[in-house]
């Protein structure tokens, strides 16, 4: 399988050139040098090939061999992915640690999915069934509760000639046989898929169900739909990672794929240590039991960082194909773009903006296009939602990665340095952010909560933009110059900002808000506004409203009222009625 196909002629960092066979394929996986490091052919010209190497090339020599494999860079798919942590080219980090110790050395070769572990398998097809690519052949219990639907490779189809009886099998054991034309093919629970090729589906469906994240500023104000794509750009320390971790914890997806792409080791360790102890509010199972982690930290080889995004999205598509909702987090796509730039620079390609290759936009488009809510080949429906962090140099959103990303996403969560400095978290700027899914998901809210979410949400946004206009005036002349009605707006927006938008990811109660809690809080704040406005219009001085004890109660409600005790909001509403009622009575006469 691996014959020598070339001889190394040039080495610079992760990029190697070689001379040899003209039969090597573009994007073919190769083994490089005496240590047989993993690499991928990224350029061909005559008998010259250019290879990006997924491991550290120190010590490699010219004249050393390159071996072909005849296969493109692929991932292994099958039961056992969940709860795994892989590097960018799907090497299992725990096995690397077992074999090599605390530090990652070169030349690690391990199966991505265990060949020994047994899974409880139940067939869903019988002999004689005609099956097409993607067909569900059976199910394996991947965790105590997660049903892994074992599918036929999308490229295969035929007639079932043999089916393994229900039982415990490894991914290497045959579970069915298939007659494909003249050939008979043995099928196992394991399949390989080239990472750079999107897995096929029948067609896209409308994306009109929100991905509920439990984050108020996201769900209530800037929702992303299941199957949609969102970008979260922001300067360092503004909250990209915390927001993505929160989504990974609380999003109502069945599978989470989290890609730490060129970021910190400690952040991955944090997920690894925390997720097994956090309970998914929907299934009652540890969050780790729905999570796949890809960790190619900033100090790991840069070419594998480039691959990590594809490894992750392919795994996400695989679970989508089973009919699940998958949410994928990529932190940070900028580091991925930089990996492209670094490899491109070594190839002395003509740079476009800021040294990035001209194909940057195309690659970003390909990645975000792999999000979607689709009808699968096997008749199920599933989705992949993508949330990509962007790390613009100097926090300047006019740079190429942010700008191009904006073209391919429909939801933009703009983090703001000054909010972060004031410890307003999540530091998502409500005036710079947008969601193009608002109308799409409004029906879902109505059905789910029976309330006109969109109108309320828009009303709150209106007040916030009014606030922004008013604060310009306040900056010039002070608040006293404003009429009471306008100051009432400022009272309400303070409640919106501190009570609704601010959400502390580290506090147990506040970290996750159910949809019902979110809409109730929104309703309450708007109710406060209506009542207050009516009183102020009758001439009551604004400080009387400002000093109402209920103001403090509303601001604190996010962390004093749990998702299970929503009736407490009725009490708060009653407090508004009581306290405002008194004022109302005074100023009515």
């Amino acid at each position: 399988m691996s014959d020598q196909v070339g001889t190394i002629t040039w080495i610079s960092g992760p990029v190697v050139r070689a001379r040899g066979s003209r039969l090597v394929g573009m994007l073919e996986l190769v083994e490089v040098g005496a240590d047989r490091l993993v690499g991928e052919v990224i350029g061909l010209k005559g008998d010259q090939m250019t290879v990006q190497v997924y491991e550290e090339t120190s010590g490699m020599q010219t004249g050393a061999p390159i071996y072909g494999t005849g296969l493109p860079l692929s991932v292994e798919l099958g039961p056992g992915l969940i709860q795994s942590i892989y590097d960018g080219v799907q090497r299992p980090l725990p096995l690397i640690e077992q074999a090599m110790g605390s530090f990652i050395h070169r030349g690690a070769r391990f199966d991505s999915i265990s060949r020994e572990k047994r899974w409880k398998y139940t067939p869903k097809v019988k002999v004689g069934d005609e099956v097409k690519g993607g067909a569900i052949l059976g199910v394996a219990m991947e965790t105590d509760t997660f049903e892994h639907r074992v599918m036929l490779n999308p490229d295969d189809s035929g007639t079932i000639t043999w089916v393994a009886p229900a039982g415990d099998y490894t991914v290497a054991d045959p579970i069915a046989k298939l007659k494909m034309g003249k050939d008979e093919k043995t099928v196992t629970m394991l399949q390989r898929w080239p990472v750079r090729r999107a897995r096929p589906f029948i067609n896209r469906r409308g994306a009109n169900i929100p991905l509920i994240t439990g984050q108020r500023i996201l769900d209530t104000f800037f929702p992303v739909a299941k199957g949609g794509a969102a970008g979260i750009p922001g300067p360092f320390g503004s909250g990209k990672t915390v927001t993505q971790h929160s989504i990974a914890k609380w999003a109502d997806a069945e599978i989470i794929v989290y890609i730490g792409c060129g970021e910190r080791g400690n952040e991955m360790t944090e997920v690894l240590q925390e997720f097994p102890h956090l309970i998914d509010p929907r299934t009652g199972r540890p969050l780790m039991e729905r999570t796949v982690l890809i960790a190619n930290t900033s100090n790991m080889p840069v070419a594998a960082r480039e691959a990590s995004i594809y490894t992750g999205i392919t795994i996400a598509e695989y679970y989508r194909d089973m009919g699940y909702h998958v949410a994928l987090m990529a932190d940070s796509t900028s580091r991925w773009a930089e990996a492209l730039r670094e490899v491109s620079g070594r190839l002395e390609e003509m740079p476009a903006e800021e040294g990035y290759p001209a194909y940057l936009a195309g690659r970003l488009a390909e990645f975000y296009e792999r999000a979607g809510y689709v009808n699968n080949l096997n008749g199920t429906q599933g989705s992949v939602s993508i949330v990509g962090a962007v790390s613009p140099p100097g926090g300047d959103f006019s740079e190429p990665v942010t700008q191009h990303t904006k073209r391919f996403i429909r939801c933009f969560w703009a983090l703001d340095k000054s909010l972060a400095s004031a410890r307003h978290f999540p530091a998502i700027n409500w005036l710079d952010s947008y969601s193009e899914y608002l109308e799409d998901v409004a029906g879902w809210w109505l059905e789910k909560t029976g309330k006109d979410w969109l109108t309320m949400r828009n009303r709150a946004m209106e007040l916030l933009s009014e606030e922004s206009r008013l604060s310009q005036i306040v900056k010039l002349v002070g608040p006293d110059a404003l009429p009471y009605t306008e100051r009432m707006v400022l009272e309400t927006t303070r409640l919106i900002r501190e009570g609704l938008l601010q959400q502390n990811a580290t506090e147990t109660v506040d970290a996750y808000s159910s949809v019902e809690k979110q809409i109730r809080m929104l309703e309450l704040v708007l109710y406060f506004h209506e009542r207050g406005m009516a009183i102020v219009k009758r001439g009551a001085p604004i400080n009387l409203i400002h000093d109402l004890p209920v103001v403090d109660t509303i601001i604190r409600a996010k962390s004093t009222v749990t998702n299970e005790e929503l009736h407490k909001f009725d009490d708060i509403q009653k407090q508004i009625d009581d306290q405002m009622g008194q004022l109302d009575a005074e100023y009515r006469s």
Partner: protein, 475 residues
């Protein structure tokens, strides 16, 4: 050009091209990428270098000491066959080395057969222990609102003429393992200190040496010095050599190591210089596109691993050109490190020491090292409240500058007073003042008590009942 093979590696006589600190050597076979070379000039003087690129029959070599005095025909290049390694040993504490790890204190070469690759290896994320133990530095702006943990990387972003060296020295001198607020202060475990200087003036290195001597720490310090008049290219190696020793001490000798790297901005300039000479496509401000990965390869060598009791905590110091935090060096550093302590010009002018600009400063790991059973239960919310109040102070100040202080509302007036007191009493402390965490929390509550109770929405009502001492405490 001719090739001679001598013991310990092949040797090439003569080079094809010299450009800045870069040599192109032709006629060498089987050169390894990244291997070390020894370069001999025509007078027999030796210097070292490293292979940056290899092709068929040629190698591109970076000379650490620069190429001054090297000639095309008179230069001999010997390829040593392995990447750059330095000796590592516990006895290196108390010693002074040059930027490549050679002793310059007149003492002998470290006696050890333990040599380690200066590039290190990435820590497997599964092998890490997430940092949770806080380090008490005795400085309120750090312990209180930007808590430093063992195994964290927390840089100081400063500017020319600001007291970052004093602050770093104070941290090093006072650092002990943190205790729960109110617990008796016992002698903490001592830190080993690895200090690396890149392109700083001799008096800076001297300042640190004196400071270590005075605090009696000198025997626990290893210094790696590449000073302003030392070859710039050597700076590429200096922090790596220092971290290589730190890794050995932490992960093989179970020590808690504090690494101070100063000044990373000079490091960045050296990297830029080499990149420019090689004609690489620059990204921002002439810095190479791989600056992020390059910095990460050092900053990520911080942390704790499960197989050892030790830890590496990093405090890199960066002077921001023009005090510009968006300059690529602080910017990319901030994207890698776990927060930053930013020094502010205005506070410094106002005579506040340490002039820590609290708002842009951040410790990301703080949340995991404070609170109940670590410092005190109210600490996280107390910190958020101080931040929020001080941020509000900035708005009030801006407003006051337009409409005048007298026109401010009562509440805003109180914010102004709070802001001044915060800078004078909380931020400001003397170079020798070592505050306990309890004291820091107490000062904070005293300041918060200057504000109306209703303004404190970040702390709980219970905490207000317990600690708030303001005029309207009763309501």
């Amino acid at each position: 050009m001719s090739e001679v093979t001598v013991q310990g590696g092949q040797e090439v006589v003569g080079v094809a091209r010299i450009e800045g600190p870069i040599l192109v050597v032709e006629g060498a076979a089987n050169v390894s990428y990244d291997e070390v070379v020894e370069i001999q000039d025509s007078r027999g003087q030796l210097r070292r270098g490293r292979v940056l690129e290899v092709g068929e029959g040629f190698a591109v070599v970076q000379v650490f000491a620069g190429s001054t005095g090297l000639s095309i025909d008179g230069t001999r290049v010997r390829f040593l066959g392995s990447t750059l390694h330095i000796p590592v040993a516990e006895e290196m504490l108390g010693r002074i080395f040059d930027g490549l790890g050679n002793p310059i204190d007149g003492g002998p070469e470290p006696l050890t057969d333990h040599y380690a690759d200066v590039n290190g290896q990435p820590i497997n994320p599964t092998a890490r222990i997430y940092p949770r133990d806080y380090i008490q530095t005795g400085i309120s702006t750090i312990d209180g609102v930007n808590t430093l943990l063992r195994g964290q990387k927390l840089p100081l972003f400063s500017g020319a003429g600001m007291p970052h060296d004093q602050l770093a020295a104070q941290i090093v001198r006072q650092a002990t393992l943190g205790k729960v607020a109110g617990a008796p202060q016992t002698e903490g475990e001592e830190f080993a200190i690895v200090f690396a200087a890149m392109g700083v003036k001799n008096d800076v290195a001297d300042y640190f040496r004196r400071s270590f001597t005075e605090s009696g720490a000198l025997t626990r310090v290893a210094m790696f010095l590449n000073l302003a008049d030392d070859p710039p290219v050597e700076r590429i190696v200096t922090p790596r050599a220092a971290l290589t020793l730190a890794e050995y001490l932490a992960y093989e000798r179970d020590m808690h190591v504090l690494v101070v790297l100063t000044d990373m901005t000079n490091y960045g300039e050296a990297l830029r210089q080499i990149s420019n000479v090689r004609g690489e496509v620059p990204s921002r401000k002439g810095y190479p596109g791989y600056l992020y990965s390059d910095l990460a390869s050092m900053y990520e060598r911080t942390g704790r691993i499960r197989t050892s009791k030790g830890s590496i905590t990093q405090i890199p110091i960066l002077t921001m050109p023009n005090d510009d935090i968006t300059h690529p060096m602080p910017d990319l550093t901030g994207y890698i490190t776990e927060g930053q302590i930013v020094l502010g010009r205005e506070l410094n002018f106002a005579g506040v020491y340490p002039p820590v600009a609290v708002l842009p400063s951040l410790s990301r790991l703080m949340k995991d090292g404070i609170g109940k059973n670590r410092t005190r239960e109210d600490h996280p919310r107390w910190g958020a409240q101080l931040y929020a109040a001080y941020a509000k102070t900035q708005d009030v100040r801006a407003l006051a500058s337009v409409i005048g202080e007298e026109e401010l509302s009562d509440v805003d007036q109180k914010y102004l007073k709070f802001g001044r007191a915060f800078e004078r009493e909380f931020v400001n402390q003397s170079f020798t003042e070592n505050r306990t965490i309890e004291r820091t929390l107490e000062i904070g509550w005293k300041l918060l008590s200057m504000l109306p109770r209703k303004e404190l929405t970040r702390v709980t009502l219970d905490e207000i009942a317990q600690y708030y001492k303001g005029d309207d405490a009763a309501n």
